[in-house]
């Protein structure tokens, strides 16, 4: 192999088309094929627009809620409709608006800010979007079947079990939301890898725009925070479909287990929503001050500590459930601590203001609105961390006020700032400053009128989630004013929509870098080319547009950088070292395809069919989905060649080593899977700890089979290690044999684990059911290992993989190792149960 191969000499489904220009290679598909686009710009915009549509729907539901509460004893909505409306309001806002729209902004902005031509897994982006869209449609469609979920967005058991919510309304929620969450988790993994592995040459972690740090931490939080809810939802759905008694106290289940799992997700969720929005603020603020963010390092430290500490306060949503006072004090103390990193960020923003003469633009107005509202929301949050106060305020309108201050102040106001700030980037035209100021003041006044009074309403004893209230106990006028305020807020949003539609045709055309920002997404004239960079410029500072006179001094396409001279006729971008940002590889990116869309659709059919109890259709959907994934991954590898990227960088394509983007993605996926396993283990230990007498009734695992399963796990681990060495050594035949050995070991692991707990009755006790659930999860991973090994073997046997292309085996080895450790952990737990006894 020569150092620099000829373009034609690599294999791949898509032979390079070197005769095409870079514009032609990156051309967006048109017509019906538009739907097959995988570009981060298209997918990001779709996330943003779809998220905004859900915002409008959920906002409309909020207006229904406020209208119902305008007077005591109102009959505008009956109780059932009201319950559906407030449930869907919360659900849509939290799951289908806040997180997806922020991820949309991240998907749209991150590659451009970091100097990549596209997001690192474009097809995964498309898959995530369609999962989100179909999941959202499933949830919304419940209105058509008159089966909208009505158990609250928190879905507390036992209210949402079959006994108290017969029918399919809860299934719509559980299945639709779980499906939409897949989108969030895939986007999270993709963003982690995109930020770590695809940055401009020289952009070390400390040179990244602060937005990328915020998104990086958020993505990690999603990867760890969503799994508890996914597990919770699956357990509850298994309870509803199969009658497994995870939450039934009569057989050792516990309704509080659901609350723990839900809030283990639900509390970090708030910060998952807040952090990207704060990242937007930290991006917008320096632009209008004209100086870099003050205290970059402090903010990074604060974001990291926020990301961690926010996982330690889930139980402050459970202060009234009768937990031991000692637990309450722990969570109370942990809750107050989150004020510190928040304070650091707020004061870093304020210190940035002091650096220069801020320009008062519409985005700045929204940023200032954020500062006011969010600080107050944070302060009431600290109040709620006080246990005795919480006992009074919990589940009252005080909490409603608090959470809207935090979420609308901490997320919606920055989001509107972001709309005004990045609108020229997306549409090429400026939104109206004049209307924008009206939008701001309407929203600001309307918001405070609506929610400030709710603090008082709550402390006057009005509980949340009540469809009606009696007259004359001090809530009438407060509610009336809150409702009027909500109409003003809605008017502001309506005016924004008008402005947005107006500006598409009549807005002033935006010039290049219209706000005089310093980050790289503004390098090209607005509505830039689809591949972001003709050449990826080396980056020395955090605000390259301010500090590098080359950038705005030249035409954007003439800015010097790597990859200018590469004309392989493939979509490709530069891959970097995660820490230092120095280029280490060239990443070949896929072209437009319908496969991810088809896969998402097949899974959507499977999920929807499960709601409709059409299980054969569901199985067909799952099989089709698996087929989709297989086709998706079937194309030959691009590894094994080396190319000259210019500027002295001669780099391998899709390199095979630990820093490969594929490998980091595999590790990221393992992180998600371990969070899922961790949630199940939490459930096991929790039930065992809380109901000793029911634990004693659960049959102990069989010692022999448990031992054998651990042995099989160990074998799998060793085989995986060998498989990696063989892959690195590039021995194709031996690797095929190792694949088959991994398959056998996976089967052995599954069988031994199942035989170990064969006497445990999943319907007998909740602990038994959870043991089977854990087994099911590990078995699923073993099945994926098996399928992947089979897939790799098949590709090698059919000659799709050539020399130097063992990346799939390299990654499989990592996955198999992770699975083997899962088997060892599970086996260890079973062993402990056998030896120590469950009693």
């Amino acid at each position: 192999m020569t150092a620099v191969d000829e373009p034609q000499s690599y294999s791949g489904t898509r032979k390079g088309e070197p005769d095409k220009t870079i514009e032609e290679v990156w051309a967006q598909p048109t017509g019906l094929r538009w739907w097959s686009s995988v570009s981060h710009r298209v997918v990001g915009k779709r996330f943003i627009y779809t998220g905004f549509a859900f915002f409008i729907i959920a906002g409309f539901l909020a207006l229904l809620v406020r209208t119902q509460l305008i007077v005591p004893g109102n009959t505008f909505l009956d109780n059932e409709t009201y319950n559906q409306v407030f449930t869907m309001h919360g659900t849509l806002m939290m799951f289908l608006f806040a997180i997806p729209i922020l991820e949309g902004f991240a998907v749209y902005l991150i590659p451009m800010m970091l100097g990549a031509r596209d997001l690192i897994f474009p097809r995964l982006g498309q898959f995530g979007y369609y999962c989100y869209l179909f999941g959202g449609i499933i949830v919304l469609s419940s209105f058509l079947f008159d089966a909208a979920p009505d158990g609250g967005w928190f879905m507390y058991v036992p209210l949402t079990t079959n006994a108290f919510t017969p029918g399919v309304s809860a299934d719509f929620w559980l299945i639709g939301i779980t499906f939409a969450e897949i989108a969030s988790v895939t986007a999270a993994v993709e963003l982690i890898v995109a930020i770590l592995c695809a940055r401009a040459p020289g952009m070390s972690l400390t040179k990244m725009p602060i937005f990328a740090w915020y998104i990086l931490i958020t993505a990690f939080m999603i990867a760890i925070g969503f799994p508890p809810l996914i597990i919770g939802s699956i357990l509850l759905e298994a309870n509803r479909l199969l009658g497994l008694p995870f939450f039934d106290p009569t057989v050792g289940g516990d309704p509080l287990l659901w609350q723990h799992l839900f809030w283990l997700f639900g509390h970090p969720e708030v910060y998952i929503i807040f952090l990207p929005a704060a990242g937007m603020v930290a991006t917008i603020l320096p632009t209008f001050v004209g100086k870099p963010l003050f205290g970059y390092g402090f903010v990074v430290a604060a974001v990291i500590s926020m990301g961690f500490i926010s996982f330690g306060l889930w139980a402050h949503h459970m202060f009234t459930t009768g937990l031991p006072i000692l637990s309450l004090s722990l969570f109370s103390a942990a809750s107050t601590m989150v004020a510190v990193p928040t304070g650091v960020q707020i004061f870093a923003f304020i210190a940035t203001l002091a650096q220069g003469r801020p320009r008062m633009t519409t985005p700045m107005l929204f940023v200032m609105g954020f500062l006011f509202i969010f600080v107050l929301g944070g302060l009431t949050g600290v109040m709620l961390a006080s246990v005795p106060f919480n006992w009074q305020a919990h589940d009252s309108y005080f909490v409603v006020a608090h959470l809207h201050y935090v979420l609308i102040g901490g997320m919606v106001f920055p989001l509107f700032a972001a709309f005004y700030y990045w609108a020229p980037h997306i549409t090429g035209r400026m939104m109206s400053e004049r209307l924008g100021k009206w939008v701001f003041w309407l929203m600001f006044i309307g918001f405070n009128a609506t929610f400030f009074l709710m603090h008082v309403t709550g402390l006057r004893g009005m509980p949340r989630r009540i469809a009606t209230y009696p007259e004359g106990i001090g809530w009438d006028r407060l509610n009336l004013l809150s409702t009027l305020g909500s109409y003003i807020l809605a008017a502001g949003v309506a005016l924004f929509i008008f402005d947005f539609i107006r500006h598409l045709r009549h807005g002033e055309r935006a010039g290049r870098d219209p706000w005089r920002a310093g980050t790289m997404e503004w390098l090209y004239p607005t509505v830039a080319i689809g591949f972001n960079f003709h050449a990826i410029p080396p980056v020395e500072t955090r605000e390259p547009l301010w500090n590098n006179p080359n950038m705005l001094g030249k035409n954007a396409e003439d800015v010097e950088g790597v990859m200018r001279k590469m004309h392989d006729g493939r979509r490709e971008t530069i891959g970097c070292d995660p820490v230092s940002g120095s280029p280490v590889q060239i990443v070949r990116l896929p072209h437009p395809t319908f496969t991810p869309m088809f896969t998402a659709f097949a899974l959507a059919v499977a999920f929807a069919a499960t709601i409709a109890s059409a299980y054969f259709v569901a199985i067909a959907g799952i099989v089709a989905g698996l087929l989709g994934f297989t086709i998706w991954a079937w194309e030959p590898s691009d590894s094994g060649v080396t190319r000259d990227a210019g500027m002295g960088y001669v780099l391998p394509v899709n390199m095979i080593e630990k820093r490969s983007h594929m490998h980091i993605a595999t590790v990221g996926t393992m992180l998600v899977l371990y969070a899922l396993l961790g949630s199940l283990i939490f459930a096991l230990l929790y039930l065992w700890n809380v109901y000793p007498n029911f634990a004693a009734q659960t049959a102990q695992p069989n010692l022999l089979w448990t031992g054998l399963s651990m042995l099989a796990g160990l074998v799998l681990l060793i085989l995986a290690m060998i498989n990696r060495r063989v892959a690195v050594a590039d021995k194709i035949g031996l690797a095929t044999v190792m694949n088959l050995a991994v398959i056998l070991a996976s089967i052995a692991c599954t069988a031994c684990l199942a035989l170990a707990i064969q006497r445990t009755d999943p319907w007998g006790t909740a602990l038994g059911a959870t043991m089977w659930a854990t087994l099911g999860f590990v078995a699923l991973n073993l099945f994926i290992t098996l399928y992947w090994a089979l897939f790799n073997a098949a590709r090698k046997v059919t000659g799709r993989v050539g020399a130097g292309q063992s990346l799939p085996d390299f990654n499989l080895a990592t996955y198999a190792k992770g699975t083997a450790v899962m088997v060892l952990i599970t086996g260890g737990l079973f062993l402990a149960a056998t030896l120590g006894g469950l009693s």
Binding site: L205, A301, L330, M337, V344, N689, P692
Partner: protein, 102 residues
């Protein structure tokens, strides 16, 4: 490992120390105060203090001796401090209460 890599670790170690400490304290309280009553109060107290000292030092270590390199030293100091204080706060309830209470 590069200097910058070590600095990134310097940011992460206190965070992980805090997480381990939090899980330890939560597990100890759960073990002592749940119906099973796996351990008694004095043992919970003792183990809690041990964990605090251990993880507290781990969290403060990068603050006291930041890894070489200038890029993130300030952030490492602040981060370590925040997490050390958070560890202290998390153990306060253990110190100031006589039992599980309520």
């Amino acid at each position: 490992m590069t200097a910058l890599g070590r600095q990134v670790w310097g940011l992460t170690i206190p965070a992980v120390a805090w997480a381990a400490h939090f899980i330890a304290i939560y597990a100890l309280i759960s073990a002592a105060c749940a119906p099973r009553g796996l351990i008694d109060i004095p043992l919970m107290f003792g183990l809690g203090i041990v964990a605090t000292v251990l993880f507290g030092i781990a969290a403060l270590w990068p603050t006291i001796r930041p890894p070489k390199g200038a890029a993130l030293t300030g952030a490492i100091r602040v981060g370590g401090l925040i997490f050390a204080v958070a560890i202290l706060f998390d153990v306060l309830p253990l110190i100031f209460s006589s039992g599980c209470g309520g």
